[in-house]
Symmetry: C2
Subunit: 247 residues, 2 copies
């Protein structure tokens, strides 16, 4: 792996590794053309929303922008940065200024909004990596502001934030995995899904390995209410934070 600094023949004033967000914040040196990071992100997000993340191809994106396949590479260094840009774009739409009374309300509303965002853009679950983009950082910022003045030290504050967002992320990931499975096979409702999965399921159940799970399958009545499931768990998490940390 060669040093990522100098590509080949370089001019002497080599730019010292400006990050994606740093470059974006520069005063837009020449906004004279049609292509801009914002337009790129917008187009890519629309493709991902309507056709899935796998449909976001550099060529497909170029077609949507009415531009040559390699054009976007002037603005993003590669597909990874494109996806960073997309994720930051949808985080930018997150409503973070909702009025709320107290840390618990703030965190609850934040969690509900994060879930809504992930459900509206299911690909974010697979795409989100280390959250170091401006609009992603705004989320812990909002949470920390709400959690200040409760006597928690910095580490515990972060633990609270991580606990809530961890729950949200994992929980929504499971929800979306099921949703993707349904979409890929064209199953619409919960009943239709169960009908399609029935052979697979009864094969597994007939092995006799899963008696407790089988009882759940018979007795559960809210299997098709993901919002209830999410919010029940969320209230457990919030209650746990309040009880365990005494705030």
């Amino acid at each position: 792996m060669p040093a990522p600094q100098a590509p080949t023949g370089d001019d002497d004033r080599t730019k010292p590794q400006a990050s994606l967000w740093e470059r974006l914040a520069r005063p837009a040196p020449a906004p004279r053309t049609t292509l801009t990071p914002h337009r790129i992100a917008e187009a890519a997000v629309e493709i991902a929303d309507t056709e899935g993340l796998d449909a976001v191809t550099m060529r497909r994106l170029a077609t949507a922008l009415g531009v040559a396949p390699m054009a976007a590479y002037r603005y993003v260094s590669g597909k990874d940065e494109l996806i960073e840009l997309m994720v930051d774009f949808v985080y930018g739409r997150l409503p973070l200024d909702a009025p709320a009374a107290g840390w618990r309300d703030t965190m609850r509303i934040l969690a509900v909004h994060l879930r809504a965002m992930n459900l509206a853009h299911p690909w974010t679950v697979r795409a989100a990596a280390a959250s170091l983009s401006p609009n992603q950082l705004a989320v812990p910022e909002r949470a920390f502001a709400a959690l200040a003045d409760h006597g928690l030290d910095a580490d515990t504050t972060m633990a609270v934030f991580r606990t809530v967002t961890g729950y949200v992320h994992g929980s929504v990931a499971a929800e979306i995995a099921l949703q993707d499975l349904q979409r890929d096979h064209g199953w619409s409702g919960g009943d239709e899904t169960r009908a399609a999965l029935a052979p697979r399921m009864s094969f597994l159940m007939n092995t006799g390995r899963y008696p407790a799970y089988q009882r759940y399958l018979h007795e559960a009545t809210r299997k098709d209410d993901p919002t209830w499931q999410f919010e029940t768990g969320l209230d457990c998490v919030l209650t746990g934070i309040a009880t365990h940390l005494g705030i």
Copy 2:
């Protein structure tokens, strides 16, 4: 999109869509050759563990097995099923029979083991989809068995399970995202990572958008203790379940 049933000229006794796990359970029609689903999964998992999930290509796998590129397609219908197989393989190594006293201990140990498994095979976080494989189903089975006889209805039992595994999955996903970032760039410790990220970070901090986050950066002392972070959050979650549901 044509019907996935008949490829071309088919013999009249078309197999009625047996699932991956159903096929695996059949009495191994002819175990006369070197290739088996177990060996395939084993080899693929080793590649993913040592070189990352992206290194698992059908050709790379075939080379590792000493076999032609298309050989594995006799056992898995495509790469998706290969990954299902890999995930089920590592779930099979999960120790689920640890003795535990009460539901809380059981769930706590389960969570810790799930985290350990994900850390040992970081690619599972990106790979895990709808958990309908035999060894994945064994996890809720174990949890449901421990949660029985506490007066919880089936839906609430599932909610408890989903809450814990949701927290684990999301929490570990964040931990591994950071770990991947470090591995991809060759940063070893937390200090080295922060040093490498410093320009990016100070650019973002200098925008003045993140005062609360900046305070956290200065005051936190356990930023490099992911186990403490995980277990602190886990105890919050478990306490919350106990308190909120009265068990």
